[in-house]
Amino acid sequence: MARYALRIGALGYLAALLGAPVVLVGWRAFEDGIDAFLTAITTPEALHALWLTLIIAAIAVPANTVFGVLCALSIARRRFRGHGLVNTLVDLPLALSPVVVGLALFLVYGRNGWFGEALIDNGVRVIFALPGMVLATIFISLPFVVREVVPVLREIGDEQEQAASTLGASSWQTFWRITLPAIRWGVAYGVVLTTARAIGEFGAVSVVSGRIAGRTETMTLHVEERFQSFDLVGAYAASLVLALIAVATLVAINLLRPKEEER
């Protein structure tokens, strides 16, 4: 009896909190008909927002992947001085408010920031332009590849790599032929999480982008802008696109999730 009550309670909670709202997005997006939806999705601003989102992700995700693998190797393979500091720094983006991240970048690269004048003198705009948004996205999506690869590296141990080196392989060969194939599913899972986070970023890019429609708006900023302009269909339409990407991410997450969690 208690089992059914618990099940109903838990599922009801989930339906009310997660399920219902998401279903509603789909419904609202098509409320004025399919034509209205398609129009909203294909405005120049919307298309630019989509393109910008993808460009940023295309830069941030590979950068964080390469860093993630290197950092994971450092953490997993040796205890070194500063081990704790690296761990904390890597975890920090998970615990920080994105607005604080935006502010931080603003203070370094903005007009009155540390590098602000030097950059402007050289004609480089970071804040209110693409580079700033990329930096913000890299910051907030930084931890995921590291966090997923470290346990995999710890589990497989370094004996295979030692064997490879006794057989004459250089560190690059060892890495490419032995280490990388062993961690590939951890990396894949981390990449999926990183991409989802990067595409979904709102707070940090909100601060650093200046939110100039058609110029420095990502999909998420576009949703807010449409909402503030009372274009609800536009807002829901863009949201639906993002929600569909999220569902695809969910599927990928569950296919790639480390199998120890399943029994």
Partner: protein, 273 residues
């Protein structure tokens, strides 16, 4: 880990390579993370400690911080119970569609926060289909935070529940314990570190949340404005010092929470062999 010392040239080269990886990682982290955060800290103290204190204790700042912390604590308490219950149902119960439900738990991880806020507004706002309207209230803040922090307790408790030795519970039953006593004395103590970890993660996430809150709460100063929205407002009105000061409060809280999670992890494994 093997303790074999491999001292060939290849090994030395590999250690050198490791040093390179470490160097690159540290450099990347310094530029991307450390540098900007240092800038926030320094900017907050630019006018001296007095200016910092004034900024942090201004009525609007205090109000936003209080709302943020109270709402986050409330959300954490709800999550502790709901998250554990959901994890229990996912691990111990069997029903059709369970794997779909399990997948859906990650939705708040995958969905952009602004979309989450919009959908909550669509359902529980003024034009919502079920007639409930909590938009522009403090309840809305709690609702938004519940959405984005849902997965944390569930996902930290699940693996521990899966690993739990079922023999322990049967032993307790054979020794005369009722089901409630088994949960209280055997299962719960073993779940507690995971629950607390999940709570700490939820808390850290909740105090910084921006996108999910910004639409449904209305951001009314002194009423429904959370700390992150306050900081955003201060940046827009060019009071960067005040923004930095409140940011530091949030930063320090995050650091403390992270340290707590680390300590919890060590405490959780204290009984392991």
């Amino acid at each position: 880990m093997s303790s074999v010392a491999v001292t060939t040239t290849a090994a030395r080269r590999r250690r050198g390579g490791n040093g390179l990886a470490l160097g690159i990682s540290l450099g990347y982290l310094s530029v991307i993370v450390l540098l900007p955060l240092a800038a926030v800290l320094l900017r907050s103290l630019e006018g001296g400690v007095a200016a910092f204190w004034d900024a942090v204790t201004s009525p609007q700042a205090v109000s936003s911080l209080r709302l943020t912390f109270v709402a986050s604590v409330l959300v954490v308490l709800i999550n502790a119970v709901a998250g554990t219950a959901i994890a229990w149902v996912l691990v111990r119960d069997r029903f059709r569609g369970k794997s779909v439900v399990n997948a859906v738990i990650d939705l708040p991880f995958a969905l952009p926060t602004i979309v989450a806020g919009l959908t909550l507004l669509a359902l529980y706002g003024p034009r919502g289909p079920i007639g409930v309207n909590v938009a522009y209230t403090q309840l809305a803040v709690v609702l938004a935070l519940l959405f984005v922090t849902l997965p944390f307790v569930v996902r930290t408790v699940q693996p521990v529940l899966l690993e739990l030795d079922p023999d322990m519970e049967e032993a307790a039953i054979s020794l005369g314990a009722s089901r409630a006593a088994v949960f209280r004395r055997v299962v719960f103590p073993n779940l507690l570190p995971a629950i607390l970890s999940g709570c700490a993660l939820s808390f850290a996430r909740a105090i910084g949340e921006f996108g999910a809150v910004v639409l449904i709460s209305g951001n009314i100063p002194f009423k429904t404005e959370v700390a992150s929205v306050y900081v955003f407002g201060q940046i827009e009105s060019d009071d960067v010092g005040a923004a930095a000061a409140v940011s530091v409060v949030l930063l320090v809280t995050s650091f403390v929470v992270l340290a707590l999670i680390g300590a919890l992890r060590r405490w959780a494994t204290r009984h392991d062999g």
